[in-house]
């Protein structure tokens, strides 16, 4: 979230798209309803009429996988009718920056597309640069045809309301009504969840939100933002701590094979981030990390630049016989991953599987899956009983980046242990096994600092994460104290300051002090970075640094104190650099440009004092600098904009031909979309072991629109077989008005819906929906397209 949960009460308009927050993020509703009581308008865009739709003022039924067309229609309407906040756009975005004249978008692809390689050479997407300073050249007016704004307008001009309507199934008038409502009711916020990310265009869906909010001036202010309602209790934290192949903690790019030295890495990521990498290496290797040995950078594995190491490749390389061993900590891919038959094949081909979990899961017991013969499965499996969250300490980070301490006063049952203790015990054993080795590859085990006491282990680790001034031994008080020379350490720079002055700030509980009245509560727990509640809050001020929204001021420049001050931590590079300095005009300082990017051009920013290495580097999506509508891999219709380039051209799928068949519309006429429900959650390992929840929601089912049910003579409770090119399930039907046929490109399209939280373990057992879903993934995030695949159905 750019903002935070309590801040929702400050919005005047809500665009909730791809989220059923009433069921899946119930407490967000508490704050939405407070805003509604004050007159806020709620808009819900979703393929299914849900409990969230019921609370909405405007509901739009959208075909799964067409969000870019819907948002594109609104963006074009706002651009064409000059409904954007021109002052905001000019002050806060790259609208004036000149793009290279060779940048083009033609027949469904951007310039630089490499046919057959599923990727772009993005050099033509960059800015025209000043040869001396390497800074982008700017146009004199927004009418300059090469400037970002003019290119944006030209690109979006294809997205007329009519085109958007024909692609999405939303009536023209509804799209127009939603756009007008968002224009008239500001500040406005956008909330989304997996309904936006689980597509082969997930990143570009979110980019569309970013563009829309920039045009509306809805970023960096109270009641605005692009707010991800993340799907797990600490998925914000686990992402921050880089349990992802392509990052190190704090979103530092993971080193590639051609980045052999810290300098090589800095050439690509910039000196601003190199400082944080040095501090991470100091946290990991302690005194063994020195400037002379590149702070131990060489001891870290280098990934192959061209390879994908995402979760899908774990199972696929297992199928290929390359992956030998998998350690799973509190995840259950045998329910939650798409295309489960492939997952099962991968697990069956491992030499060893280790699963740590409070409950027996379908993943650990994959060899007991109904219909499979354990004798033929040679995987050794070890199950480690884990403590539940109620039986351990430590911090969790919510979607609003609020880092909160969990206490406990009970022990885990039986011999169960916390995952922290397990990892510690395991790593110490591995180190011991390597203690006698003189081989170079094993030196890393001698160099790493790993010495955690049994008592207060969580708090000790949190202090390592926060980091230290290594000269004084004191905790770092914030990111500002981090030094590039090895004199400080931090295990995750965005968390620096969470443990300041020997105090664990995540334990703070001041729920009374909120001088802003906006629900910021600066003394309650601690938010990263630097206890900042609203990211990009510099954009809430005018050029001179004064709040634009007088009713909801966040920060401002105080001329008397010569300092940025306010109710929130000012999001500025240096608190004492005023609006008359370059640093005082960087509302989006985490991008290389210092402003937000309507077009995400590749860019490296240089400090005039160091033209040798970039200061910072802006990232660009693999599949284009602007969001283009591509159909899902399995689509019920042609791509209206460019039939020859139907789906995302950067998508490589199938990756394993035999296990990843693509269903044709002629054989699989219906669109399946999946999501969670209020009573069961994700894989269900917890909720399906709670009798109360099983009583409320005892089994899986398929929701079928009335018109389709009539055609198949399906009644409520009838057993229905649903199958795709990948698998089939038999489940009871729920005939519903909540789904309805859509008119797409002049044809009728039916959508059906299923929850996905069931499997063959736990107190409530039923077929897993993910047996039929598709594992094609977004080319930036490799998130699978579980929100749209093609199926057929029949009475069972």
């Amino acid at each position: 979230m750019t903002n935070h949960y309590v801040d929702l009460k400050n919005a005047k308009a809500f665009l909730i798209e791809g989220s059923n927050c009433a069921e899946n993020h119930p407490m967000s509703l508490r704050w939405i309803m407070k805003a509604k009581e004050k007159g806020a308008v709620i808009i819900h865009v979703d393929p299914r009429f849900t409990r969230t739709s019921k609370l909405a003022d405007i509901y739009a039924c959208i075909r799964p996988g067409t969000d870019i067309a819907f948002l594109g229609g609104m963006i074009n309407y706002i651009l064409e009718h000059h409904l954007y906040d021109e002052t905001y756009v000019k002050q806060n975005t790259n609208c004036y920056f000149l793009l290279k004249p060779e940048f083009k978008f033609e027949e469904g692809v951007f310039s630089g597309y490499q046919e057959g390689k599923f990727k772009y050479d993005n050099s033509s997407w960059g800015y025209q640069l000043d040869p001396q300073t390497k800074k982008p050249l700017k146009a004199k007016s927004l009418d300059d045809p090469n400037c970002v704004f003019a290119q944006l307008k030209k690109f979006y001009s294809r997205y007329t309301l009519q085109t958007a309507s024909e692609i999405t199934g939303i009536p023209v008038d509804t799209i127009k009504l939603i756009a007008d409502t968002l224009v008239k009711n500001r500040p406005g916020t956008i909330m989304y969840a997996l309904g936006i990310t689980q597509h082969t265009t997930g990143v570009q869906n979110i980019r569309s939100f970013g563009i829309l909010q920039q045009l509306l001036g809805n970023m960096g202010k109270a009641g605005t933002g692009v707010n991800a309602l993340r799907g797990e209790p600490n998925v914000q934290g686990s992402t921050d701590f880089a349990l992802l192949f392509n990052y190190l903690p704090g979103y530092l790019s993971y080193p590639n094979h051609d980045q052999q030295t810290l300098k090589d890495w800095t050439k690509s990521s910039g000196t601003f981030r190199a400082k944080f990498l040095v501090n991470l290496l100091k946290a990991w290797f302690g005194p063994n990390a020195t400037p002379e040995n590149d702070f131990g950078y060489g001891w870290i594995a280098k990934k192959n630049k061209g390879k994908n190491y995402s979760i899908f490749r774990i199972f696929e390389t297992a199928v290929e016989g390359k992956m030998k061993m998998l350690y799973v900590m509190g995840q259950n891919p045998m329910v939650t991953s798409p295309n489960l038959n492939l997952v099962h094949k991968g697990l069956s081909n491992l030499e060893m599987l280790v699963v740590a979990d409070p409950f027996m899961t379908e993943t650990a017991a994959f060899w007991e899956k109904p219909g499979c013969d354990p004798k033929t499965i040679n995987t050794e499996v070890i199950f480690l009983p884990a403590a539940s969250f109620l039986e351990k300490q430590g911090t969790k980070s919510n979607s609003g980046r609020l880092v909160q301490w969990c206490y406990t006063k009970i022990n885990p049952p039986g011999e169960a242990k916390t995952d922290l203790e397990m990892v510690d015990l395991l790593f110490n054993r591995i180190r011991k096994l390597y203690a006698g080795s003189a081989l170079e590859k094993d030196q890393v085990f001698k160099k790493v600092v790993w010495n955690y006491p049994k008592e207060n282990m969580y708090e000790t680790v949190l202090q390592e994460i926060n980091g230290y001034n290594l000269k004084t031994g004191e905790h770092l008080k914030g990111i500002g104290e981090i030094q590039p020379d090895g004199s400080t350490s931090t295990g995750n720079w965005v968390y620096a300051g969470c443990y300041a002055n020997a105090k664990n700030l995540t334990k703070r509980r001041d729920n009374k002090t909120d001088p802003s009245g906006l629900g910021m509560f600066p003394g309650f727990a601690w938010s990263w970075p630097g206890n900042m509640k609203v990211l990009y809050n510099r954009a809430s001020c005018d050029e001179k640094g004064q709040p634009l929204d007088k009713e909801r001021p966040l920060i401002w420049w105080d001329q008397a104190q010569k300092k940025w001050v306010g109710f929130d931590t000012p999001d500025v590079p240096v608190a004492t650099d005023g609006p008359d300095t370059p640093n005082g005009q960087k509302p989006f300082r985490m991008s290389g440009e210092g402003v937000s990017r309507l077009i995400a051009a590749p860019y490296k920013d240089f400090d005039p004092k160091n033209m040798d290495l970039p200061r910072d580097s802006s990232s660009t999506p693999a599949d284009g600098p602007m969001p283009e509508h591509y159909e899902p891999v399995e689509s019920p219709t042609a791509n209206k904009l460019h039939p020859k380039v139907a789906s995302n051209p950067c998508l490589k799928y199938p990756r394993l031909k035999a296990d990843q068949p693509i269903g044709k519309h002629s054989e699989f006429p219906y669109v399946l979309t999946t999501s969670g429900i209020a009573e069961h959650w994700c894989c269900g390992a917890f909720t399906r072991n709670v009798p109360w929840l099983n009583e409320i929601s005892p089994e899986t089912y398929v929701e079928i629109p009335e018109q389709l049910a009539t055609k198949f003579r399906i009644r409520n409770g009838s057993k229905v077989k649903v199958w795709s090119a990948r698998g089939e399930v038999v489940v009871p039907a729920m005939v519903t008005k909540r789904l309805r046929p859509l008119k797409i490109n002049g044809e009728e399209v039916f959508i059906i819906w299923m929850p996905y939280s069931w499997g063959f373990k736990g107190l409530s057992q039923a077929a897993s929906t993910n047996l039929i879903t598709i594992d094609a993934g977004d080319p930036n995030t490799w998130i699978q397209e579980t929100k749209a695949c093609l199926v057929n159905l029949a009475r069972a």
């Binding site: 949960y5 993020h25 407490m27 309602l229 799907g231 797990e232 209790p233 600490n234 998925v235 686990s238 701590f241 349990l243 192949f245 094979h257 990991w284 190491y309 979760i311 774990i314 390389t317 030998k324 998998l326 350690y327 799973v328 900590m329 509190g330 409070p358 027996m360 004798k375 499965i377 050794e380 199950f383 539940s388 109620l390 300490q393 911090t395 969790k396 919510n398 009970i410 039986g414 169960a416 995952d419 922290l420 395991l426 790593f427 054993r429 096994l433 890393v444 955690y452 282990m457 680790v461 629900g519 994700c682 909720t687 709670v690 109360w692 929840l693 107190l763 995030t781 998130i783 699978q784």
Partner: protein
């Protein structure tokens, strides 16, 4: 009035009419039942384990056992409320479905067998070492150039969104020391 706790609960659960019939004030009844349930209990707070709202739970413990769990009224986000899933979490520490010892399933076997922690961790550590040693990639060629990569592609780690930050951090640290790049979690699913 001599009422058992069950009678009181019935009265509360049976809606306002029943309470009025008994001549009870709803507020007092609620307070009294809460008092019975948690009298003498120790209290702690935790953060819910489902969506990412970050709601706080108030937990009560007697004799080392969790006896009550409810929304934390002093929390800025949930202000005492919990959803259906969160409110049911008191079941988890006391569930007979919890696995209480490490288990082992041999290749081709039809069943689990309990093993000790030492056996389990020794097996895992030995397997990690063997797999790492047998599948070590010291260098890799790209075009004409040979690069040092210090890596194994045969070991993978998965999970973390259910874990606390400190656990995620140590998992990252351990897996990156072992030298694998297959380090992933629920953010993609």
């Amino acid at each position: 009035m001599d009422l058992s706790r069950r009678d009181l609960l019935k009265a509360v659960g049976g809606a306002g009419l029943a309470m009025t019939a008994l001549g009870l004030d709803a507020k007092e009844v609620k307070a009294a039942t809460a008092d019975f349930r948690i009298k003498g209990a120790q209290e702690y707070t935790s953060i819910c384990t489902f969506c990412s709202c970050g709601c706080s739970m108030l937990c009560h413990v007697k004799d080392g056992k969790l006896i009550n769990l409810e929304g934390d009224p002093d929390h800025i986000i949930n202000e005492g409320a919990l959803c259906s899933k969160g409110a049911s979490m008191g079941v988890i520490p006391n569930s007979d479905q919890r696995v209480k010892t490490p288990l082992y399933r041999a290749p081709g076997s039809k069943k689990w067998q309990p093993i000790t922690w030492d056996e389990a961790l020794d097996k895992v550590a030995a397997k990690i070492k063997q797999t790492r040693d047998d599948n070590w990639i010291a260098t890799e060629k790209d075009g004409d150039k040979e690069y040092r990569v210090n890596r194994t592609d045969a070991i993978s780690f998965l999970g973390g969104a259910q874990n606390h930050n400190e656990e995620c951090y140590l998992m990252t640290k351990m897996s990156r020391m072992i030298g694998t790049d297959f380090v992933e979690h629920q953010a993609r699913v």
